[in-house]
């Protein structure tokens, strides 16, 4: 499998602020999801890929070329940023003609391609309206249309689902899948929500605090999520009996009972085993559980865990 992007130990800092820190990744063909919380470095990564900024150190290759000061590479890249930049006074078709002109497309070729792309993103009907009146979903579609107008090999979509409602989100997810499956584009798409990425691809990279903390199949990431230590809150009656039994189990690291004995914090290093065993333990001890909640069953916790690892 060839890689569309290879980054080796790249760092990018803006004065004292670190955007990416010793970041390494290999992105194969197909759809790859870049997942990380806000401020993790996803947008910095995209800016480096498009040559908008240059790496402070390290080696970066996109489609086999260095991106900084290399405009010819941009003929093979399509970039859809996460922010809104569309000129409100232009209509969708004018905007695409502007993009096509910047890519050096001849007028005849451009007219045909603009119509094609508008069909692909399902915007043909609204293409002649001023973009200032577009909904969020329409703006995302026309941005994606602009990024694929010149039929690039690699599409970079930065948070394309942000701010969209569930219906639009589903449509954009289907569109992104089609752009790869039907139209053959390789795609790097970012999000701060893992399950959104999961609906598009199984190939993901987790970024946290400027570092790639895990890359690979989403099932492996899921495994990491279930394997990392969890802090679990239990509340109900008979907590003392339950705590005594839990302390004998190998997956329990520590237990902190609340003074009123109606709740406790349990720290476990194998949450999967804990959650499998808990029904039997409840029956065995005769306790009554009112609440059981993991405080760490979210992506942010996984990131923190992986960074410490």
């Amino acid at each position: 499998m060839t890689n569309v992007v290879e980054a080796r130990n790249i760092s990018k800092w803006y004065k004292e602020v670190i955007g990416l820190n010793n970041f390494s990744i290999e992105v194969p063909t197909g759809i790859t999801g870049i997942v990380g919380p806000n401020g993790a470095g996803k947008s910095t990564f995209f800016k480096l890929l498009t040559g908008n900024i240059k790496t402070s150190v390290g080696e970066l290759s996109v489609l086999g070329q260095k991106p900084w000061r290399n405009p010819s590479l941009l003929a093979h890249l399509g970039f859809c940023p996460d922010y809104d930049f569309l000129p409100p006074e232009l209509d969708g078709r004018e905007y695409l003609r502007f993009v096509g002109g910047l890519h050096g497309m001849e007028p005849g070729q451009m007219t045909t391609r603009v119509d094609e792309v508008l069909q692909i993103v399902n915007m043909a009907k609204d293409a002649d309206r001023a973009m200032g009146g577009y909904s969020k979903g329409m703006r995302q579609r026309i941005k994606i249309a602009g990024s694929l107008l010149h039929n690039p090999q690699l599409l970079l979509l930065d948070e394309p689902l942000t701010g969209t409602d569930p219906v639009i989100r589903k449509e954009i997810i289907d569109l992104i899948k089609d752009l790869h499956k039907v139209h053959g584009h390789d795609i790097i798409v970012s999000s701060h929500v893992l399950h959104e990425i999961e609906r598009m691809t199984h190939q993901v990279a987790l970024i946290y605090k400027g570092r790639a903390v895990a890359t690979g199949e989403i099932s492996e990431i899921r495994q990491l999520m279930s394997d990392h230590p969890h802090n679990i809150v239990l509340e109900g009656k008979g907590m003392v009996e339950l705590a005594k039994v839990l302390l004998t189990k190998p997956y329990t690291t520590s237990i902190e009972l609340r003074p009123d004995r109606t709740g406790m914090f349990v720290k476990v290093d194998r949450p999967e085993d804990f959650f499998n065993a808990i029904p039997e333990l409840v029956i065995e001890t005769g306790c009554e559980l009112d609440r059981m909640e993991s405080l760490d069953d979210d992506l942010e916790s996984v990131f923190r865990y992986l960074v410490r690892w």
Binding site: K47, L73, F79, L86, P87, F98, G101
Partner: protein, 248 residues
């Protein structure tokens, strides 16, 4: 057409349109009305002649409207696109950034030339409409239009490069116009000649026989070459800086 020509033409067309659609046209209209009102009023006063018209055009157009409009439009042209991030489309296209910069520059030159020519015509006709003796007035207007075009070339190059490099280009621009050109430029001695305004007046003096500007001393050809070379140097510098610009 080659892809580069198409890209340059696209930049020029869309940038010029963006400049003209900007709400700053209200300022331009107000300033033009002000120029027309001042010139029309002056023409009604005793002793108003073509010398007076030439002096007013020198002051209102060359010293004020030309640099101020170039600053308002030029310094914000690229800077605003960086700030509102609409520049992303330009810097993620395969068009060489230096060519894109030329597109900005030519668009700025065209728009400023159109606006200043209109202001000159409106102001000049306003004066001539109320002046008892208008002979030579059209000639003066044409010379000022031509000199302003040269001024547009150099001021556009200057303020565009400021906007590409500085986060707050307007302050340095204001300093240049009102402190350097307006204040130090009026000082006696050689220092006064180190201004764009002075060089433009030298060029104009070669063709105008009316007003104070006709008595400015200097070689018009040298001034013209100096300004054109400076415009080329500043534009080349701006194109280079724009290529090196990191847009975070």
């Amino acid at each position: 057409m080659s892809p580069i020509s198409i890209g340059l033409w696209t930049m020029l067309r869309f940038s010029a349109r963006k400049l003209l659609q900007n709400r700053r046209w209200i300022i331009v209209v107000l300033l033009t009305v002000l120029v027309a009102a001042v010139m029309g009023y002056s023409a009604t006063q005793d002793g108003a002649d073509i010398d007076g018209m030439s002096n007013l055009m020198d002051f209102l157009l060359i010293a004020f409207l030309l640099p101020v409009l170039a600053l308002i439009y030029g310094a914000s042209m690229i800077r605003n696109e960086i700030d509102d991030r609409s520049i992303v489309q330009v810097i993620t296209s395969p068009l060489d950034r230096r060519i894109a910069y030329l597109g900005y520059y030519f668009a700025l030159v065209i728009v400023l030339t159109v606006l200043l020519t209109l202001a000159t015509i409106v102001g000049g006709l306003s004066y001539l409409a109320f002046s008892p003796d208008g002979s030579g007035g059209i000639e003066v207007m044409l010379v000022f239009i031509a000199v302003q075009f040269i001024g547009v070339l150099i001021y556009s190059a200057l303020f565009l490069v400021m906007g590409a490099k500085l986060k707050q280009p307007i302050y340095l621009g204001l300093f240049y116009i009102f402190i350097w050109e307006g204040f130090l430029g009026s000082a006696p001695g050689a220092i006064g000649s180190y201004t764009i305004r002075h060089q433009l007046r030298v060029i104009a003096s070669e063709f105008i026989n009316y007003g104070d500007i006709a008595h400015v001393i200097g070689d018009g050809t040298t001034s013209l070459i100096t300004l054109i070379v400076l415009a080329i140097v500043l534009t080349s510098l701006g194109a280079f800086l724009f290529r090196e610009l990191e847009v975070a």
